[in-house]
């Protein structure tokens, strides 16, 4: 009887915890709050590009409006085919400036950000602190699998969670993604990352939370009528709280394990991609 009562208590605590999972609303029209290690790289590049292109756009628009007002048919047009070497150089110069400043900056930063950070998986795989998690997407649920103490997936000690993802603060987290039905896309707006989950293959992404709290995990790829409901909550926890959560979840998983529930036994050997 007491075991039952204890289980009910644990269940009540878990339900309460789930109800508390309440990501911060975003108020403004700007970028969502950045809670990640590398999100600022995206933000800086977006802002730089907005300002640079804003200047280009206003300058060109200004020329167009000035020309439209100034040359309203009040005088005779110039007879100019613009086919001299000088004319061509003026145009090529204008284009060249934008290409070098904006496109060049975008390309250079993107290559650095990708190879050094967002897609630098070898660095993260080598980090001893890295947390590895598998995510299985299906219509319209995110199922998440933690390897348990043995560090291997699809074993009886795995923790399985639905529409929730718990990660520790300040350490890299790698997710390997799969899908059982259609293509989904795991999107963490507050972390500026996104990765498709494709049936028949394993994809991956990594991120690192820099502040504790609850954040939204969204599906970004249309995956059927209830696509809009395919929402999960990512909890970034202080290391101590995370350890506690992991221990509790471990206990639940041990009790909840059902060897006959074939549906629940997904998971794959961690892919060295």
């Amino acid at each position: 009887m007491s075991a039952l009562r204890r289980m009910a208590a644990v269940a009540a605590v878990l339900v309460a915890a789930a109800a508390r999972a309440d990501p911060r609303p975003e108020r403004g029209y700007g970028l969502p709050h950045d809670a990640s290690l590398d999100g600022h790289r995206v933000d800086w590049l977006i802002h730089f590009t907005i300002i640079a292109l804003g200047i280009v756009f206003l300058a060109v628009l200004g020329m167009l409006v000035y020309a439209a007002v100034r040359h309203r048919g009040a005088h005779v047009a110039a007879y100019d085919h613009g086919n001299t070497r000088k004319s061509a150089l003026v145009v090529l110069g204008c284009v060249g400036i934008v290409v070098v400043v904006v496109d060049g900056n975008l390309f250079g930063h993107a290559v650095d950000d990708l190879n050094g950070h967002f897609w630098n998986f070898s660095k993260v795989e080598a980090d001893p602190r890295t947390v590895r998690i598998e995510v299985n997407a299906h219509q319209w649920v995110w199922t998440v699998r933690y390897p348990g103490p043995d560090g291997r997936f699809n074993t009886p000690d795995d923790i399985v969670e639905t529409n929730g993802l718990h990660v520790p603060l300040g350490v890299p987290v790698i997710l390997q993604l799969a899908s059982t039905d259609v293509i989904h896309s795991l999107y963490l707006p507050n972390f500026r990352v996104k990765q498709d989950a494709v049936p028949g293959s394993i994809t991956r992404l990594w991120f690192q939370g820099q502040e504790p709290g609850e954040f939204e995990l969204a599906c970004a790829q249309h995956c059927g009528p209830n696509h809009y409901k395919m929402r999960a909550v990512l909890s970034v926890m202080e290391p101590a709280a995370y350890a506690q959560w992991l221990a509790d979840a471990q206990e639940d998983a041990r009790r909840g394990f059902d060897p006959d529930d074939a549906e629940a036994h997904w998971g794959w050997e961690w892919k060295r991609l």
């Binding site: 977006i46 040359h71 047009a77 085919h81 061509a88 059982t180 293509i183 999107y187 996104k194 498709d196």
Partner: protein, 598 residues
């Protein structure tokens, strides 16, 4: 004749055929490129209206989720009590995209202008293959009928997005017959486009009038010709993707099914994306190249000034045409593509912005020091430049992978491609319609209604798609039935609602055009005269409005480029600021010649 390449035109091979007299041969199964152009025009405009109505439903849903749709709800959403449900919603946005791209903008921009203008502007009596031309329209009509049929079957039409990604677009995600019919419609419209493309390419190469060298072609023809090249090369790839998807849906093959649903290994869903976007990225240039050409000409015509660096514009369009085939990977940056491949696609994508910018600068330098006549077509042309600028520049963000990690599949993408494919293509189409309407129908549209239509449209488009860019910048994903399920999107309720109000106003403003158009076509209106805009190209200078069945009584002999404005010698000799492409320059008066000798 000596200065003109003698191989061009073959006037002896283009005899004047008598016009058919029976109604059916004349207006239904017509071989006349001008009639086929009008058939595409009507078919396209009707579907443009349908696509626009579907857009209003999407906007209603984002402004007032779960509320009954006025007017349309009781008519079309009876099964859900007048409310848009999640399943209706996915059908609506899918069909909005497909209809607008394949069944509205494509037929009007390419079917109408390509058919009408190519023979008339190059000085030919018809297309190279008139029968193929007719078949192209009838295949297209079959595809439109399949789309209409898909709305009538159980479970509704397609719902996997306009891109139709499998496995969602296979029976796993979309079991209804509607999706199959739409896939079939795509195949048929692909066949129609390919037929048209072969015809356009051949006609431009073989049937140019004597003296119409490549570098004397109007920019419109260049735009349409490059479009045809892209269509001929890449639409068959879409056709093959559609066919394989059709087999997956109907005959149980597994080309694109993988994972748990696949039997014995299955296929590869990503393979479809490669096929789709090898076609799909050229497609966005297919939808803008004709508009670029039209804008290039119209800007020059109404600035009364030669097109600035004509050859530069031609080379830029050629460069875009070549590059458009090798940038498609930017649609797939987050599918798990190899990082090296991704970065290659990123570089090419960023590079394609250079020729596009070159075109914009050429247009602006054309207007610069011109003598602008602010007619309706000129306003629409300048509006096209404006919205294309916004669309092109926002594309740079999305060509960059690290920004794409955040922006991919958000409303930012939606805003970006609506500025280019929707706003710029639509305004480019309208530029062409207002400009060539007098030639097509022999009457003139009302200029005041046209200008009012322009202002409502350009302001409306900017606000609506600008609102989408802002929503995407704040992270809102696209294609959400109810975006406000997400806490982080809660703050965007006002933005989404205001964007919808602007969209409704934009839609309402289109009735100015519908009224103007129908009233002028079917009512009495001022006769246009042969060359109301006082411009230089053959369709205006060498034939009547509308042209006779055989286009030209005499096939013109072309002497100069399409943009000879404000030439001092012409002004001296003719007393006007323009001279037609095939017009003979009068000898200077004898007295002057004598004076010069003396």
């Amino acid at each position: 004749m000596a200065t003109h390449p003698a191989h061009l035109g073959h006037p002896e091979l283009q005899p004047i055929h008598p016009a058919p007299t029976s109604f059916v041969r004349r207006y239904v199964f017509s071989l006349d490129h001008k009639v086929i152009a009008q058939q595409f025009l009507w078919a396209g405009l009707i579907f443009l209206f349908v696509g626009g109505t579907l857009a209003m439903l999407i906007r209603w849903q984002w402004a007032f989720p779960y509320r009954k749709v006025p007017v349309l709800g009781p008519l079309f959403l009876r099964s859900t009590g007048g409310v848009i449900g999640p399943a209706n919603y996915q059908n609506i946005f899918t069909m909005h995209g497909l209809i607008m791209i394949f069944f509205a903008i494509t037929p009007v921009l390419i079917g109408t202008f390509g058919n009408f203008l190519i023979p008339l502007q190059i000085g030919a009596r018809d297309m190279a293959f008139p029968l193929l031309n007719m078949l192209s329209f009838w295949f297209f009509l079959v595809s439109q009928l399949l789309v209409i049929a898909s709305f009538l079957v159980a479970l509704g039409p397609a719902g996997a997005g306009w891109t139709g990604y499998p496995p969602l677009s296979t029976n796993i995600g979309m079991p209804g017959l509607g999706q199959t019919l739409v896939v079939l419609a795509l195949f048929f419209t692909g066949v129609a486009s390919t037929m048209g493309a072969i015809n356009y390419i051949t006609t431009v190469i073989r049937l140019r009038a004597p003296g119409m060298t490549y570098m004397r072609l109007p920019l419109t023809i260049w735009g349409l010709w490059f479009t045809a090249v892209l269509n001929a090369l890449f639409v068959p790839v879409l056709g093959s993707a559609a066919l394989l998807l059709f087999l997956d849906r109907t005959f149980g093959t597994q080309f694109f099914i993988a994972g748990a649903a696949a039997v014995r290994g299955g296929g590869d869903p990503i393979m479809y994306q490669h096929l789709f976007w090898i076609f799909g990225h050229p497609e966005v240039y297919i939808l803008i190249l004709p508009a670029w050409g039209i804008v290039g000409d119209v800007v020059s015509f109404f600035a009364r000034k030669p097109a600035y660096w004509y050859k530069g514009s031609v080379y830029a369009m050629a460069t875009v045409t070549v590059l458009s085939g090798v940038v498609y990977g930017h649609h797939m940056f987050v599918t798990g593509m190899s990082p090296l491949l991704g970065q290659g696609f990123m570089l090419l994508t960023l590079l394609i912005s250079a020729p596009a910018m070159l075109l914009v600068f050429n247009w602006i330098f054309t207007v610069w020091r011109g003598s602008i006549r602010f007619t309706t077509p000129m306003l629409f042309a300048l509006g096209t430049v404006f919205v294309f600028g916004l669309g092109g520049l926002t594309g740079l963000f999305l060509g960059d992978i690290s920004l794409d990690l955040y922006l991919h599949d958000t409303m930012f993408v939606v805003g970006h491609f609506h500025f280019t494919m929707a706003a710029a293509s639509f305004l480019g189409t309208m530029t062409g319609l207002y400009f060539w309407f007098p030639k097509i129908f022999g009457k003139r549209l009302d200029e005041r209604l046209g200008k009012a239509h322009f202002w409502i449209t350009v302001v409306g488009l900017t606000l609506v798609f600008g609102g989408q860019l802002l929503a995407g910048y704040a992270g809102q994903q696209r294609r959400l039935f109810d975006p406000f399920q997400y806490t982080f999107i809660q703050g965007l309720r006002g933005l989404n609602r205001w964007t919808s109000y602007f969209a409704f106003a934009l839609f309402a403003g289109q009735f100015l055009f519908i009224w103007n158009f129908l009233r002028t076509v079917f009512g009495r209106a001022e006769a246009a005269g042969q060359n109301p805009w006082e411009v230089t190209t053959l369709e205006w200078t060498n034939t009547t409005s509308p042209p006779p069945y055989h286009d030209f009584d005499v096939i013109p002999e072309v002497r100069r480029g399409p943009d000879e404005f404000e030439n001092p010698a012409v002004k001296e000799a003719l007393g006007r600021d323009w001279i037609g492409q095939a017009e003979e320059m009068p000898e200077p008066p004898a007295s002057e010649a004598g004076a010069a000798k003396a």
